[in-house]
């Protein structure tokens, strides 16, 4: 029975970390929470005595697919995360308490663990209509987010909604759905995807516990260990692409042989995610393996980078080796820039098509903001 009642310090000690490493982590956590170095000792005291880091999970404009994905985690399974790894003190999806009793859970954690809790956010925040588009316990999503973010040791944006606004932020964004990093003045770890892969979510949550520090992030704030490769570069059908073997119609001969779905609109070439390596649902499959192109659901503004079944310009000129290092930096800026990067390296014959796509993409895609620039 995998019972762990160790404090974070004991866990780290058990994994060979020194007291100095532990104090460094505490100062990182204090700084991330905006508390300054004087709070390090208080943070350390908490992590020394508290068995499981307190976690608050907020729900705003979302469909709960991120919560559903989270409970699909297979390593570790979600029961082990909830009982042994973290203390999930507030989550409207699973918690027993409701109404005032639930809100008390939230307020208790915000007060008792100021500067020490991890904040997970599912959903975007509508800033229109004075916040009336999303209220919980009579308070607007924006009020709740700002209050909870103020004392958080780390903030994680679950999924495309919290990271980029997702479907409700697609044209014309009727409620002014806003990603959380635009509303709070501290760094946000983005875990995009609609939803993110279950074991990626589990990996991000447990990274801190396993290594005593946050995951390495790319320029957009995504953990590099899950978002540094394009789906196309790691796709098992990549060999078909390179050989010029494509699906040209649904369930055609090429589809029954598992050829490349590029011509059916696959967004794998402009999508950074772990799908083709980690796969979904305990490694069972991923969209391309099951015959449908990638929708690009982990990318900023992917809903407006459609229609989904119109294919991208060809992406010759990219090799697996060059993509992450040279092209990756540019692609990380966003889909529009990504396609521009394709244009540079693509076959001259395809220029008119590429130009058209860049125009469409620039017109429709949401442009990434300043902090995304490498």
């Amino acid at each position: 029975m995998p019972v762990s009642q160790e404090s974070l310090w004991e866990t780290m000690k058990g994994k060979g970390y020194s007291r100095r490493d532990f104090m460094q982590f505490c100062s990182f956590a204090a700084a991330a929470a905006g508390l300054g170095t004087q709070a390090t000792a208080a943070v350390a005291a908490t992590f020394e005595k508290k068995a499981r880091p307190p976690v608050v999970w907020l729900h705003f404009q979302e469909c709960t697919c991120c919560s559903e994905s989270f409970i699909r985690a297979s390593h570790p399974i979600v029961a082990d995360i909830l009982l042994d790894a973290i203390s999930l003190d507030y989550t409207q999806t699973l918690q027993a308490a409701a109404g005032a009793a639930a809100e008390k859970c939230l307020q208790d954690t915000l007060k008792a663990y100021a500067g020490q809790y991890i904040l997970l956010v599912e959903g975007s925040v509508p800033t229109g209509a004075d916040g009336a588009y999303c209220c919980i316990a009579g308070r607007s999503a924006e009020m709740i987010l700002k209050e909870a973010a103020a004392g958080a040791a780390a903030v994680i944006a679950w999924g495309n909604c919290a990271s980029y606004g997702c479907v409700q932020a697609a044209r014309p964004n009727p409620t002014d759905a806003t990603p959380i990093h635009k509303l709070i003045g501290k760094p946000v770890i983005k875990v995009p995807g609609c939803p993110p892969i279950a074991d990626v979510m589990a990996g991000v949550v447990t990274h801190v516990l396993m290594f005593g520090r946050g995951p390495e992030l790319d320029a957009q704030g995504r953990p590099k260990e899950f978002y540094s490769r394009r789906v196309h570069d790691t796709c098992y059908r990549r060999a078909s692409y390179d050989a010029g073997l494509f699906v040209d119609a649904w369930d055609d001969d090429g589809a029954r042989k598992g050829y490349c779905l590029f011509r059916m609109g696959c967004r794998g070439p402009v999508t950074y995610n772990a799908c083709s390596v980690t796969k979904w649902n305990q490694g069972t499959s991923y969209p391309i393996q099951s015959g449908h192109g990638c929708l690009g659901c982990s990318e900023n503004g992917f809903w407006d980078n459609g229609p989904f079944y119109r294919h991208l310009p060809a992406v010759q000129g990219f090799s697996i080796e060059s993509s992450a290092d040279t092209i990756g930096a540019a692609l990380g800026v966003g889909v529009a820039a990504g396609i521009a990067a394709h244009a540079i390296t693509t076959n001259i014959r395809k220029r008119p098509l590429i130009a058209e796509t860049i125009q469409e993409s620039s017109a429709s895609g949401q442009t990434e903001d300043e902090e995304a620039k490498p």
Binding site: I77, T91, D108, W250, R256, W280, G306, P307
Partner: protein, 572 residues
């Protein structure tokens, strides 16, 4: 003495729901249900490729994932006259069944059980006695004393840590909790088992649709291909995987979920007389066996029941403008013809009109508008939708599988058929449905294997994939049954793009505010008469609300913030 209590947020649901209830002398006298979040997905769909709509609408809900994608594909196929190949129908049915089984089990253990199960009480249970009880309920192989002792020990340490996490501030020790410690231990143990199992059954979605939540759908069929001479397609290994998952699902439902449901229910038979609410039930039906256009072939039949009269099932037509209408007299919208009007979704008119208090607020003005949900009516009647409605329609229509199981449950609990019209009946109907659907899933799988064996491989109808083949204007409706009840999408296509898109979803039927004539919808009606022993711990209200399995993100998206009139849609 009268108390106005507010439950906001209602937790262990999907979405943002607020309940205000007036409690007098320990009984709910009046109740108001409000949806407090909107996104505006219908507006976002305008001008887009109809073939993309399934992906947008699938994101309406990640709990009942897939059902909106199915309704959307059907609405486009209905508009364009596309019939999907038999294998596509079978794959869609398999995904539908997998969704029901997963969603209903998760609802019972993770969203509903804690209204009936006292987690703290299980710490006092005797593991040996627990094992004896569990073995008397079912042959589930994990029901040994060592297993229960380990679970109890694990939870004991968890509680002793002082960090109660998701169990913090529950109404533990409330006198409404009636299970003996041993039954509580069985339920909590299976709460953990179900959490682990549910992640497996959805692999059926991953195999056919690439991922879960939000697997891929396709207008005209399904995206996967079959080929028993290829590793890159659905082959013998993939089919074996599906077959194993179905076998495990049937075992879990029959040996864990349904026995637990009956065991828990036997201690709460008083709830067979509480929470009945409305007397009308509506089901669109689903699981076609000879095509979507032939509702008589549906395993889950279509129909409406009025006044709890099980001797008569009324026909339902989603295209008839005299049947379904939506009201907004208590919703944050306004109609050109006045707020008392009712409009069919084809003629839907949606003008945003937030008149509620500016947040932060303490109370909503329930005499005025108080919700983002519109109020749908069928032939002016408020209707309950969901597993109870589906099982009643199937029962009344004489479905042999449903009749047999409903009869068995009633005999086991020793209650009359009228017990179904209640909070307990709603929860029991969900269990009956899960068991029936799990077995139907096996039947669909066998049919699929037989087709592949016979060389019948097609999964997509290409006939009208190309927009060049479409008429200048077209319109259609896609009816289905979400786990939570009747779901429909209406689409109008013009110049190869979406001209208008309308959804009327289960929780709009159940969770909506009053209509113009003051008739309550399901939640508000069902709460009347519910006992509340302690207004600070209204666990009884949660029991009835959770028995509907609320799903609010689905229900609230029906508005146009620019105040423009949604296009009118005419059907032939």
């Amino acid at each position: 003495m009268s108390n106005r209590i507010v439950i906001d947020p209602v937790t262990r649901i999907e979405g943002h729901l607020r309940i205000e209830a007036v409690v007098e002398n320990g009984v709910v006298k009046d109740a108001f249900s409000a949806g407090t979040m909107v996104r505006g997905i219908e507006k976002i769909l305008k001008g887009r490729d109809p073939r993309d709509a399934w992906a947008f609408t699938e994101r309406v809900c990640g709990v009942c994932t897939t059902v909106h994608a199915l309704a959307s594909c059907r609405s486009v196929e209905d508009a364009l006259g596309i019939e999907v190949p038999r294998n596509a129908e079978l794959v869609r049915n398999l995904m539908f069944c997998a969704q029901y089984v997963q969603d209903h089990v998760v609802h019972f253990y993770h969203l509903h059980a804690l209204d009936w199960v006292d987690v703290v009480s299980m710490l006092k249970a005797d593991p040996a006695e627990t094992s004896k009880i569990a073995q008397s309920l079912s042959p589930w192989p994990k029901s040994n004393p060592g297993h229960f002792a380990a679970v109890q020990q694990r939870l004991k340490k968890f509680v002793e840590s002082g960090q109660l996490g998701i169990f913090a501030n529950g109404y533990w020790g409330h006198k409404a909790y009636k299970l003996p410690p041993e039954v509580n231990l069985i339920a909590v143990s299976h709460y953990l088992d179900a959490l682990e199992w549910q992640k497996d059954v959805v692999k059926i979605h991953a195999i056919f649709g690439g991922k879960n939540p939000h697997p891929n759908y396709l207008v005209g069929g399904v995206p996967c291909s079959f080929n028993t001479e290829e590793v890159n397609a659905v082959n013998t290994e993939r089919l074996n995987h599906v077959g194993s998952l179905i076998k495990d699902a049937i075992a879990f439902v029959e040996q864990v979920y349904v026995p637990d449901l009956l065991a828990v229910a036997s201690f709460y038979k008083d709830w067979a007389a509480i929470g009945g609410g409305l007397e009308n039930y509506l089901a669109y039906g689903d699981l076609p066996t000879r095509g979507y256009n032939d509702p008589t072939s549906f395993k889950l039949p279509r129909g409406a029941i009025l006044g709890r009269n099980l001797n008569e099932v009324h026909e339902v037509n989603g295209k008839d403008e005299n049947e379904i209408k939506e009201y907004i007299s208590h919703s944050w919208y306004k109609y050109g013809a006045g707020d008392a009007a009712g409009l069919h979704p084809f003629k839907g008119e949606t003008e945003f009109n937030y008149t509620g208090p500016r947040p932060p607020y303490e109370h909503l003005d329930v005499e005025a508008k108080y919700s983002w949900l519109k109020t749908p009516r069928w032939k002016e009647h408020p209707m309950e939708v969901g597993p109870l409605a589906r099982m009643l329609v199937a029962f009344a229509k004489g479905d042999p599988d449903v009749k047999e199981l409903v009869g068995a449950v009633l005999r086991k609990l020793d209650v009359p058929v009228t017990a179904l019209f209640s909070t307990l009946g709603r929860t029991a109907a969900r269990g009956v449905e899960t068991q029936v659907v799990a077995h139907w899933m096996k039947g669909f799988f066998d049919d699929l294997v037989a087709n592949v064996k016979n060389g019948q491989l097609a999964t997509h109808n290409r006939l009208h994939w190309d927009p060049e083949s479409w008429p200048a204007e077209a319109q259609g409706v896609g009816l289905t049954e979400a786990p939570r009840g009747a779901l429909a999408h209406w689409i109008r296509i013009k110049d190869k793009t979406i001209d208008n898109y309308q959804l009327v979803v289960p929780s709009t039927w159940n969770a909506s505010p009053r209509d113009a004539s003051g008739q309550r919808s399901s939640y508000e009606a069902a709460l009347i008469g519910t006992p509340v022993a302690n207004v600070d711990q209204p666990v009884e209200i949660l029991r009835t609300i959770h028995s509907f399995d609320p799903c609010l993100a689905c229900a609230v998206h029906l508005y146009d913030p620019d105040g423009r009139q949604i296009h009118q849609v005419q059907f032939n």
